[in-house]
């Protein structure tokens, strides 16, 4: 097993990313910002954040370690 303890942090991160892709804090809010309801902007920005964090996850080696494998660059 080469799973690193720091990788555990990805579990709550993914849970948060999924949970708040829905703009729950803006429930019932009807403000319009720049032509669209503000909660649509939240969602657009959130999915952008997801792409950034997903690529970080994939590049950091946590992708392989999560399955109990050794990332490419780590080979002795």
């Amino acid at each position: 097993m080469v799973r690193s303890r720091r990788d555990i942090v990805w579990l709550p991160t993914f849970a948060l990313l999924v949970a708040f892709a829905v703009p729950w804090p803006l429930w019932g809010v009807d403000r319009v910002v720049a032509g669209l309801p503000v909660w649509i902007w939240w969602h657009v920005a959130w999915l952008g954040l997801c792409t950034v964090l997903f690529s970080l996850f994939a590049r950091s080696g946590a992708w392989e370690r999560g399955m109990g494998l050794r990332p490419e660059g780590d080979r002795p």
Partner: protein, 494 residues
């Protein structure tokens, strides 16, 4: 005149798409067996777009805008969350794991993988049978969508059944002529084309009505409740259960699940995973916002028509509206074909060969596959004439049926103690219950069982939980059979 032009463009484009498929078939001269194995060399762009192609269905182009038009733009949030984020996470948890296992053991279908791990032909056939069952309403959905699209485009001159029949004919032609190959890169071309025209359409319509602000303003004037998040059909229960059932369901879709086995390298899966949320957003924002904005536009949507063609007809030239509809129908056709083809590989590999005729020649198997696909598409066409629900309802039924497979599969992938009996009970019981619920709505003589309880919570979500409880519980109570081999699913060591 305009009518002839519109229909000409639709039929012409469908023929063009068919020709592309034929060329792809001629270029890649591979045997049926090679198709799946050679596909293990699929790269990032093609993998991304063949997966994306599943989104290019009547569910996205017509069902989504219709719902946004009727109930508000929250549908964008539901679909973005489930497809852009939750599906991406499952892409890793289920997809990457399946890729690792499939790469070691050479699996091509989900049923094959599970059947081998648990040493059970019965489980293999069960998984294939369940998958084919839920593929049926999803193919039917494409026929309904096409029928309604032509009603909208031609103001009802072409009847509903005409559009449905047209796409059915092309589906069968495409499969029989273009066969089992080359689907992947036609999907890619269709995907890029549709992504572009949906944006052009959005820009065109929005500039005709005076900009994004004006479009939203008019929408809010007509339907003030569209501006605030939640409310109406969009209850907490609806949002959560729809997002969860569809996201898990998509992973068990035959052609999506099969993609998990075919990536060239882990790198391909990784890159697709990271790009996914943005790609999804690029398609959903223009498609669904057009539907929501239409609520404030002076358009008249006839009963049983889709809102998107009506809006395009009003604000863009007839040739462009026809082109978008043609593109959507061609994309629907090509994605139905990847579904039908994956379905046919489930049918021949997991049902026909192991259960019916183990010694069938390859030639015979190929014919069984083709006849099976044609029969399947025709039956779905007949069923689509009864229009058993809205596009979203029918699609959701299919997704939920697939979703009930997901948790037992995850259990098998990650928990060595899972047993064959646990899997069979965990798959079979929730399926039977769900099937009873779905059929009770179709069959007139029995009382209709509720699909949702406590204000929008989908019954399928409860059945998903049941499938997990049964798989784990029964596995704990039973001993692994001698034929099962947990090491088949190991990804490390030798």
């Amino acid at each position: 005149m305009t009518l002839g032009l519109s229909l000409g463009i639709v039929v012409g484009y469908l023929l063009f798409a068919l020709a592309v498929g034929l060329v792809a078939y001629r270029v890649s001269e591979t045997t049926a067996e090679d198709y799946y194995l050679a596909s293990r060399s699929i790269g990032t762009v093609v993998l991304l777009f063949t997966t994306f192609a599943t989104l290019l269905s009547a569910f996205t182009f017509f069902g989504g805008p219709n719902l946004a038009f009727a109930a508000g733009p929250e549908w964008l949030i539901v679909m973005g969350t489930l497809d852009g984020v939750l599906f991406a996470v499952l892409w890793y948890a289920i997809g990457y794991k399946q890729w690792l296992i499939g790469n070691r053991n050479g699996y091509v279908t989900l049923g094959e993988m599970l059947g081998d791990r648990f040493g059970s032909t019965g489980l293999r056939a069960l998984v294939a049978g369940v998958s084919l069952l839920w593929l049926f309403p999803y193919v039917m959905l494409q026929q309904m969508g096409a029928g309604e699209a032509l009603v909208g485009l031609t103001d009802g001159v072409v009847p509903y059944w005409g559009g449905a029949a047209l796409i059915t004919a092309f589906m069968i032609l495409y499969v029989v002529l273009a066969g089992m190959r080359g689907v992947a890169w036609t999907d890619t071309i269709q995907g890029l084309f549709m992504l572009s025209v949906v944006w052009i359409a959005a820009v065109w319509v929005v500039s005709a009505v005076g900009g994004v602000g004006a479009a939203t303003g008019a929408m809010l004037e007509a339907r003030p409740e569209f501006g605030s998040f939640g409310g109406g059909v969009y209850s907490v229960g609806f949002i959560v259960s729809t997002a969860i059932t569809i996201a898990f369901g998509v992973t068990m879709f035959p052609q999506i699940n099969q993609r998990f086995f075919v990536a060239k390298s882990g790198e391909t899966l990784k890159r697709s995973f990271a790009l996914w949320p943005v790609l999804v957003l690029l398609l959903f924002v223009p498609a669904f916002m057009l539907g929501a904005w239409a609520a404030g536009m002076p358009v008249d949507v006839p009963d049983g028509a889709n809102v998107l063609p009506v809006v395009l007809n009003e604000y863009t030239p007839a040739w462009f509206a026809a082109l978008v509809i043609a593109g959507a129908m061609a994309a629907m056709m090509s994605s139905s074909d990847s579904m039908l083809l994956s379905g046919s590989s489930y049918f021949t590999r997991d049902l026909y060969r192991p259960v019916v005729n183990a010694d069938a020649s390859e030639r015979r198997e190929a014919w069984v596959a083709r006849i099976g696909v044609a029969g399947f598409a025709l039956l779905a066409f007949v069923a689509s004439l009864f229009r058993p629900g809205t596009l979203i309802e029918v699609g959701d039924t299919a997704f939920s049926g697939f979703a009930l497979l997901a948790l037992p599969v995850i259990c098998a992938l990650y928990w060595e103690r899972t047993t064959r009996t646990g899997m069979i009970v965990g798959v079979l019981v929730p399926q039977l219950v769900y099937l009873a619920v779905v059929l009770s709505a179709v069959v007139g003589s029995v009382p209709t069982l509720p699909r949702a309880v406590f204000g929008g919570w989908d019954i399928a979500l409860g059945l998903m939980a049941l499938s997990a409880v049964l798989t784990v519980g029964v596995s704990l109570l039973t001993a692994p059979t001698a034929e099962s081999d947990a090491s088949r699913f190991a990804v490390t060591g030798d």
